[in-house]
Amino acid sequence: MNQQQSIISVKDVSMIFNLASERVDNLKEYILKVLKKELMVQEFYALRDVSLEIGRGESVALVGANGSGKSTLLKVIAGVMSPTKGSVSVKGSIAPMIELGAGFDMDLTARENIFLNGAVLGHDRQFMESHFNSIMDFAELWDFVDVPVKNFSSGMVARLGFAIATEIRADILIVDEVLAVGDFRFQEKCKQRMAEMMSGGTTMLFVSHSAEQVRELCQKAVWLEKGRVKMIGDVNEVCDCYEAS
């Protein structure tokens, strides 16, 4: 793939966490540990020298065992975490769906949360007002539009989150295992919308433990193991190897 077309490029990214055996979040402990020189730095590589190029319009799955660094990689790409080493460049807007509904204020109603969440993604009130109806239509939550979100079931929260994140056509869609919640019919609806977005030129990054979904939705796959890239290639090849391991 040539360089011009790549929309996400990840170069030699390493992410190091200091795995303190206990978290120091209080002042006395901190001072004691600094004095005793006990503030141990046990380094843990969540990602190690990961390099990736993703082209415009591609759909890429990240596969790997729990703790292999999939979510960390997504967060680095989304700009939520800054990598310890290496660099990430992203050309385009991102619609992140990492922990759906994480941006909701539980005390506010669905209506208020739509505007809040829209603002978080960088859209003003006017813009959100013009999209309000289609968001509610997609989420099918008209009966609950003025109910505080804390009274929603997790499936309903996921519906609302998905509807907001996909309403605005972003260049890149990041999906982190959000299809696990929601009933079967809604999952189908989500898949359909994702397919629509991709045919419209949206690039997608997808994390799921369901090999079936991965094969269905993605062309390429990246297999991560213990923070390293083990294999990159066609989705079927990578999934076959991953399942065989």
Binding site: N26, V80, I94, I98, A102, L108, L121
Partner: protein
């Protein structure tokens, strides 16, 4: 590098105006949700507090400040704004952890929006000052039109403190407990309900180092005494505000990188 940060901060600030608006609206909504009188509380609360305190101080402690209720509510309004805004800002990053983990947003938005929403609440309670003026038959000077000047200075000052507190509290939750005690001491060191002239001279000198004293005095001389403060007072207020904001931005910028690992 440093210049870029401030320049970028200003540029991104423009893009995030809608977000700040929504966050401020949210704070206001959540604050009075499910209370019957709602926003009216912003007005009632300072009035009721003023009644209690002026009763206590005029009967028990015998203060001889002319028009004590007005003197008190002026100081109290500014002090409460300072206290509320910095306290709310302190928790702002921690409480918005779920957002910070999800999307990239410039994080200084959070303390800033909290101070701003507190500022909005405070503007409601300015009405309470007018009501007290009306009831006590206080003389109205034209200098009252400048009331917003010390408030803007104080706003900038609170932003600086809020930035520092919000960043520190991510790493050390102790700050949240410690700050309560600190503000209590600070309140007594600020002439909110007493006049500075009753203190011994050396203590007066110490209190001159307290920026809150200057903001409140500035405000009072506009409203109560119809005087525009001297240039030196302006200078002190401006320098305190800008210095605090600069320190706040610097501390915040340094500490924000690893927020996500501690939230």
């Amino acid at each position: 590098m440093k210049k870029n940060f401030f320049k970028n901060a200003l540029l991104t600030l423009k893009n995030y105006v809608p977000l700040i608006q929504e966050l401020v609206k949210r704070d206001l909504k959540v604050k009075y949700r499910r209370s019957i009188l709602g926003y009216l509380w912003s007005l009632l609360n300072p009035l009721l507090m003023m009644c209690v305190m002026s009763y206590v101080f005029s009967t028990i402690f015998q203060s001889n400040i002319p028009n004590f209720p007005l003197y008190l509510i002026c100081g109290q309004t500014l002090w409460n704004f300072f206290n509320e805004s910095t306290n709310m800002a302190m928790y702002s990053v921690l409480q918005n952890g779920s957002l910070i983990r999800k999307v990239y947003i410039p994080k200084y938005i959070f303390p800033l929006s909290r101070v701003l929403s507190s500022f909005v609440t405070m503007s409601f309670s300015l009405l309470a000052i007018l009501i007290v003026m009306l009831f006590t038959g206080a003389k109205v000077y034209w200098t009252i039109l400048l009331f917003w000047v010390p408030l803007v200075f104080l706003f900038v000052f609170c932003c600086g403190i809020g930035l520092i507190l919000s960043a520190l509290s991510v790493y050390f939750r102790d700050i949240t407990h410690l700050y309560g005690v600190l503000t209590l001491a600070w309140m007594y060191a600020t002439p909110v309900f007493y006049d500075i002239s009753i203190l011994p001279a050396n203590v007066q000198g110490t209190i001159a180092w307290n920026p809150m004293y200057h903001y409140i005095t500035f405000f009072r001389s506009l409203i109560l005494y119809g005087q525009i403060p001297q240039g030196s007072v302006w200078l002190i207020c401006i320098v305190c505000s800008l210095a605090m904001l600069a320190v706040g931005l610097m501390v915040f910028r340094k500490m924000q990188r690893n927020f996500i690992l501690y939230i």
